[in-house]
Symmetry: C2
Subunit: 204 residues, 2 copies
Amino acid sequence: MRISELSARTGVTVPTIKYYLREGLLPEGERSAPTQAAYGERHVERLRVIRALLDAGVSIAETRRVLEALDAPSSRPHDLLGTAHAAVTPPVDEHLDLTDAERLVSGLGWRPGACDPAVLGDVARALAGLERAGFTVPEDVMPVYLASARAIADAEITGVPTDSAEAAVRYVVLGSVLVEPLLLALRRVAEQVASFERFGGAEH
Amino acid sequence: MRISELSARTGVTVPTIKYYLREGLLPEGERSAPTQAAYGERHVERLRVIRALLDAGVSIAETRRVLEALDAPSSRPHDLLGTAHAAVTPPVDEHLDLTDAERLVSGLGWRPGACDPAVLGDVARALAGLERAGFTVPEDVMPVYLASARAIADAEITGVPTDSAEAAVRYVVLGSVLVEPLLLALRRVAEQVASFERFGGAEH
């Protein structure tokens, strides 16, 4: 199909598609004439993934790295997950103290070598942010965070399809990154429900 | 203390402090001379909160609204939570279909009137993002998301301190917003641990 049809099919404007082509997010179409290229279903599919990542707040550079992970032909699920996480995580600053983060995630079953260090940096940065704000997670709440994170991950990883590498890749990379807004939204709703049950609404 | 000392105490540069003053994030100091103002402990404290919110990716406008919630003198925990969530959530677009979101969060104990509609919009946007990407959360994973969100919220809301309104406000507003990066980071680590246990590492 021509770029105009690709635009109509996906709802992404032609200038935006051209931008993604220039940025290397979308592979070139097949040259069908000197000024014309033909696009196929994989471009439709890829555009949906790009839009989803950008809509989820992933940057252009991070999206490019996630797509590279998706395209890596021989990637196995565990390596891919690390690549996908690293793609959406700032690199670990050498000044970042990982001690508290390591102690905390040992409660998740973490041990050295099982994780990409970037995710440990994420935990350390999150703890540092709380400390800077002077906010302490109560002692009996932290174990619930750890148990919930582990329960979520176990369910997700158990569900990784193993029938095709492509399906596994898609599930692991997109599932990890795109589900984040859903989890945060569900927590906010649950907080309001629990708070309503404990404290009552505005009219009481 | 003078602005230079406030800067030294908090590690926030003087031009940045002046920017926060202009933006109304930080209350003015007490005028001690025509060109000089005196700042106190509440400015130190407030600067830590501002930095924490901005570091967590909250925008200047959202930070201003969260701070307004923190400052509202007669706010009760449940109203505050709604205000804090609304402050960091885009308004609900009238074209947004909330049907699927309402059905999903009924599994959290949600019912009409218990929540600020903004959080429901968050769920709807997250679901729409997944749908656009063609990603379906597996049937046996979604109940784990709901149960985990509810377990987290129950622990958090049970822990709301009731001895002082100020402590409750601080806990609810900051806890909800600032803990998000920690939860996402813990999930990523847990995913890597679970994936390592199921699929093994790179060297196997």
